[in-house]
C-alpha cells in the first residue's frame, strides 16, 4: 500500500474538512470555474463534499446492530444484523436473563491500514421484541481491559416491574470518539 490518507479513521471524530481536501481559501485555477459540469469537479464542489463529509463523519454511529437474547438454551445472544465502520461483529456474552455484554476489539484498521482506537462514548438500545409489553433496555459502557478505552457495552432488558426479560430482541447503536 503506497499511500497513507490524511487524518484519522472516521470513528476517531478528528477529521475536519481539510482532511478531505477542503480549504477556506481554495480557488479554481486562475479563477476560471467549471467549463463542463459533466467532466469537471470545481473547488466549490470539492469544498462542499469536504464540509458535508466532515459533518456526517463526526456523528455517524460506529456500529448498529440487532441481537436476540437466548435465555432458553441458555447461550450467548445471536447477532441478527450488524453494520459497522470497520471490523467484524463484537464478541457476545450472556450474563443472565436479559443481560448480555458485547466486546469490541478496542482498535480497528481502516481500508488503508490506518489503525485507531474505537473508544465507545455513547450508546442507545431499544427493545424491538414484538408484543404488547413495554420493556426497558439500559446500557453500560465498560472498560474490560482497564486501559482507558471503553470497548464493551452491557445491555440489560427489564419489564415495568424491573424484572429481567428473557429472549428479548434489541437494537443497539454505539458511537466512538
Amino acid at each position: 500500500m503506497s499511500i497513507v490518507p490524511t487524518g484519522n479513521p472516521a470513528w476517531v471524530r478528528s477529521n475536519g474538512h481539510t482532511a478531505y481536501g477542503g480549504n477556506v481559501n481554495k480557488v479554481n485555477y486562475q479563477s476560471i470555474g467549471t467549463i463542463n459540469p459533466r467532466t469537471d469537479l470545481s473547488a466549490e464542489n470539492l469544498c462542499r463534499i469536504a464540509a458535508d463529509l466532515a459533518a456526517v463523519a463526526r456523528v455517524s454511529p460506529f456500529a448498529v446492530m440487532t441481537f436476540t437474547c437466548d435465555d432458553t438454551t441458555p447461550a450467548a445472544p445471536t447477532i441478527n444484523k450488524y453494520y459497522a465502520m470497520a471490523g467484524s461483529s463484537p464478541t457476545p456474552t450472556r450474563n443472565g436473563n436479559g443481560d448480555v455484554t458485547f466486546q469490541w476489539a478496542g482498535s480497528y484498521a481502516d481500508d488503508y491500514g490506518v489503525v485507531a482506537n474505537a473508544n465507545i462514548i455513547a450508546a442507545t438500545a431499544t427493545v424491538v421484541t414484538s408484543g404488547a409489553n413495554t420493556y426497558v433496555a439500559t446500557v453500560e459502557l465498560l472498560d474490560a481491559n482497564a486501559n482507558g478505552v471503553f470497548e464493551s457495552v452491557r445491555v440489560r432488558v427489564v419489564d415495568q416491574a424491573v424484572a429481567a426479560v428473557s429472549n428479548a430482541k434489541v437494537c443497539l447503536t454505539i458511537w466512538t470518539g
Binding site: 474538512h17 467549463i35 466532515a54 463526526r58 462514548i121 455513547a122 450508546a123 439500559t138 446500557v139 424491573v162
Partner: protein
Amino acid sequence: MALGGFAPCPFPLGGTAIDGFTAEQHARLSADLKAAVSTAPFAVIRFATDNTTPLAYIAQHGVGVSSAPTLTVLGVGDIRLLWAASYQDEYDNAWGANITQAVATAHRAFGYTANCVAVVTLESSRQIRVRTRNPVTGAGDAVVTLAVW
C-alpha cells in the same frame, strides 16, 4: 486522464484508479454522501441528568464539550438541553438548528439510578427535555445517551 498537480481545480474527472478520480467514482461518492447526510444524526450527547457538563459530545458542527448545547437541571431525573439558534460550517455558511427527532437510552452507571426509562420531549426546534425514571421507584437521575436529528 487526470494530470495531478498539473490539473488544478476545476480538475477533470478521469484517469485511472491509481492517479485519477473517475466520473463513476465521483458519482458513487456523491450518491453515498447524500445518503449518509440524509440519515446522520445532528448530534449525539452523553450526559448525567444531575450535571450541566456533558460527558461526551459529537455533532455535525463540532466535537467536544465546548460545542455542546446548554444543559439546565430542572429537577431529579429532569434536564433540558438547548442548542444554539444556528451553526456555521467551516465556510461560514450558517444554518438554523431544526431538531425533529430524538432517541434516548439511560445508562447504568455508578452512583445513578438503575433500570431507568429515558423519555424525550421535543419542546422546540432546538430545545429538548429528558426525564429519567425507574418504573418502580419513580424519578431518578441517570446517565443518558441522546441522539438527535
